[in-house]
């Protein structure tokens, strides 16, 4: 799942609000702001980006105001996309 070659990182994002738990693997540049990754992932899953958040599999919230490389380093590549009213629940 993880690859740092070519300045890109991969994230496997699972949409947990869907019972089928669909997932997508995104390959993004390391330096991309994670807000853009979040917006891209939300658009791919056809959910509104303004009301979505990305958390780890352990339920730890991810601050999107950092680069994708930082997020990959701190939290790994297995992430979850949740509706924003579920943050902290």
């Amino acid at each position: 799942m993880a690859s740092g070659a070519g300045g890109k990182v991969s994230f496997k994002v699972t949409l947990t609000s869907d019972p089928k738990l669909p997932f997508k693997v995104f390959s993004v540049p390391e330096g991309a702001p994670f807000t853009a990754v979040l917006k891209f992932a939300a658009e791919e899953f056809k959910v509104p980006p303004q009301t979505s958040a990305i958390i780890t599999n352990d339920g730890v919230g991810i601050n999107p105001q950092q680069s994708a490389g930082n997020v990959f380093l701190k939290h790994g590549s297995e992430l979850r996309l949740i509706p924003r009213d579920r943050v902290g629940a």
Binding site: S27, A32, P33, A36
Partner: protein
């Protein structure tokens, strides 16, 4: 002495006549007002005249001796009564006029005060309204600025997103397998059957296959052995070897037959009884063996 008496009597008469006259005046106010207007001019002279006359009367009353004092006094009294009437008319009308003027002045003053109060209130209301308008205008300005700022930020974010979007790609997609949700009994059966088929399996591989932790796998196997659904041995290199009851029975029978057997000999013999090949291969051999038997038969 008598003179004194007469004087006192005449004074009493005059005092008694005054309220009578006032009462009469109240009954006919209009005619008296007219008279008062005419006599108003004469009042300047009259009061002093009447006062002096009254003084003269007192002295004359004091000095006169006998004579019917009442008759004399009544004559004098009627004249004086008229004079007094006129005097009091004038005085009352003057007083009334003064009161009227005072009331008018008071009313005017009140009106003026009311007007000034109204103008003051209007001015304050005007000032307050202007201040409210300014405040609202300021708030509106602030809101517009905030909205403009927000729109600018959103625009900047959108631009940045467009800039990076081109470099994003979706490598893979799918749905997470939900075997656990579909049927847990089936999973356990699969677990057992998988172990039986594999015969000798590293525990880590088993854990990866069923998405469990290695320790959890060990616990499961121990529990299944207690339940009697599995039988086998776990070696110290992290493998589990499934040995069926039949194989164990075969080893037991051999030991009973031999009676006394060394471990090395038993181990070499057990390799014959216990097959460590994966069961898929075993099934193929059994099928072949069955076919041979049929052929022989």
């Amino acid at each position: 002495m008598e003179d004194m008496f007469v004087a006192i009597l005449s004074m009493l008469l005059v005092v008694a006549l005054i309220p009578l006259y006032l009462w009469r005046r109240r009954q006919v106010p209009q005619s008296h007002e007219q008279e008062a207007q005419v006599q108003h001019r004469e009042t300047v002279v009259r009061p002093t005249g009447t006062r002096s006359r009254m003084r003269r009367r007192h002295t004359s009353a004091a000095s006169t001796s006998s004579a019917p004092p009442a008759a004399e006094e009544t004559d004098d009294g009627s004249d004086e009564e008229a004079l007094e009437g006129e005097y009091y008319n004038a005085k009352a009308s003057k007083k009334k006029g003064r009161k009227k003027e005072e009331r008018q002045a008071q009313r005017q003053a009140e009106e003026a005060a009311r007007e000034s109060r109204h103008t003051k209130q209007d001015r304050y209301a005007e000032i307050r309204r202007r201040k409210d308008e300014e405040h609202e205008a300021k708030e509106r300005l602030l809101e517009e600025e905030a909205e403009a700022r927000k729109a600018k930020e959103e625009e900047a974010a959108a631009l940045e997103f467009e800039k990076w979007k081109g470099e994003f790609s979706v490598d893979a997609e799918g749905t997470t397998e939900n075997e656990v949700q579909d049927g847990s009994q089936g999973l356990l059966y699969d677990f057992v059957e998988y172990i039986k088929k594999q015969k000798c399996i590293p525990l880590e591989d088993l854990a990866a296959e069923f998405k469990l932790r290695t320790q959890d796998c060990i616990n499961r196997i121990t529990s299944l052995e207690d339940m009697g659904r599995l039988s086998g041995v776990m070696d110290d290199r992290g493998k589990y070897i499934h040995i069926s009851y039949e194989e164990m029975q075969a080893v037991a029978d051999y030991i009973k037959r031999e009676g006394r057997v060394s471990i090395a000999h038993l181990a070499s013999k057990s390799n014959q009884f216990i097959d460590l090949e994966p069961k898929a291969a075993m099934i193929t051999e059994e099928e072949l063996g069955a076919q041979d038997e049929i052929a022989v038969a």
